[in-house]
Symmetry: D2
């Protein structure tokens, strides 16, 4: 029996679009890269993510970190892993993001039968040093 | 010299309303209780916080935990503590929230010169056991 | 069929003594209270746990927090839960402990089929405010 | 004025030996590499660090992660940073270590005026995948 084909970044992008219809128009996250080894997701700069002083808000950063880890599970297990749920998230905010797109890059630390742990770095687009660093644990659930 | 009067829950509610104008109409969080000892903040149920399956999303839970800790600093230091920024947040998701208002209750673990640590429990309104548990560290900054 | 009798603090103390023979003589931890609701464990003051300046070291604090969570699983599931392993630990160090016994108090936040989450407060014996605060997640494993 | 010469791995090793005299004989940690960019510390395999089943204990892993972060501060600030104290530590245990030396590798995520954040990976010596992953925050204190 063949293992299921793993979804591409485009497959995951389409899956997100169909699962989480944007209520207020405009783009949500963009899945730029998605393999079992590495994931890269972009959060386009939007006024509602900004804090006074023109920086991306902490909650928007946490939401992106959580999304990166979830995309990583899809890229590693296939779309049937979509029912997995976050069980724990730890984030260190390192410096103030610029008012530009926020980039989240994930590396899978562990993919076990019941738990997946992903390390996520967040960057302001075009800047070399991370603005935040997170570890995210998902309880893995497979649709069958 | 008198110490500054600490703000009430109503003071903080007005301060939030003036600092973070809602872009899309409708209510944001409601500060129900705010003293140096204890804080209680309500996130009214809104369609955009819900996940498929009718549960409050993880990012909405994290945003509320972060807000509870920030309100706690205002309640303890006064509104001049509003420039404090989150330096670290750890959250354990314990069970699936119901599709009702989410309640965040905070207890201050430490209020130092440079760091404040708050323990936050999140509940589905009317339910006795917490759906999530967070510890939130703020770097304390005072406007002068 | 009867549910298994849950172990008492004394049962757990004896189990620890037989499972982890002290190599260098002298007392290890003392289980003072152990029910499914609440656990209290004492780490007696010993020279090797002290840091210069006469304070209990960070690693000794982390070891106690981890032990409190494990004792909580034994108190809740019975001794057959002893093979459970720590999957994640988060600790905030709040203030410098005194050079006295360290007390760890645990409250179970979640006891699921696969994960148990415990909140742990550490105190210097006889002092009212916690010196550290931890959340500890165990992957639950039952001997059969 | 010249900036102070930063200490080498050997300097730090000697400083540890003089600051924390081993009480029970035998080697403690070995600082194998220490620059502002990267730190590598070895915890030699010793019977008292082992758990039943011949694995390095969780507390020994946490102690090594904490030490790696502290060595990183010395390597970055000089020995006058030795009074810095851990303010927060988060660790995910990924897989069971082998009963061999444990290796800790650190990368500095942030070195601010008041906080330093280090990412630490722990490996069983000779094995390619990490057994644990930690982020450690220190409150920076400089002797003057």
């Amino acid at each position: 029996m063949q293992p299921p084909r793993l979804p591409t970044a485009d497959d995951i992008q389409r899956f997100i679009a169909s699962s989480f219809p944007e209520r207020e128009g405009g783009p949500g996250v963009i899945v730029e890269h998605a393999t079992p080894e590495r994931v890269r997701v972009r959060l386009p700069s939007r006024p509602e993510y900004l804090r006074p002083g023109q920086s991306v808000s902490g909650p928007a950063q946490m939401a992106l970190a959580d999304t990166v880890a979830w995309v990583h599970i899809l890229a590693s297990l296939g779309l049937e892993g979509a029912a997995s749920v976050t069980s724990q998230l730890n984030i260190n905010f390192l410096s103030r993001p610029a008012a530009v797109d926020l980039i989240g890059e994930g590396v899978l630390l562990k993919l076990g039968k019941s738990l997946a742990v992903t390390e996520v770095r967040l960057y302001s687009d075009g800047h070399p040093t991370p603005v935040a660093f997170a570890t995210v644990t998902y309880a893995v659930r497979r649709h069958t």
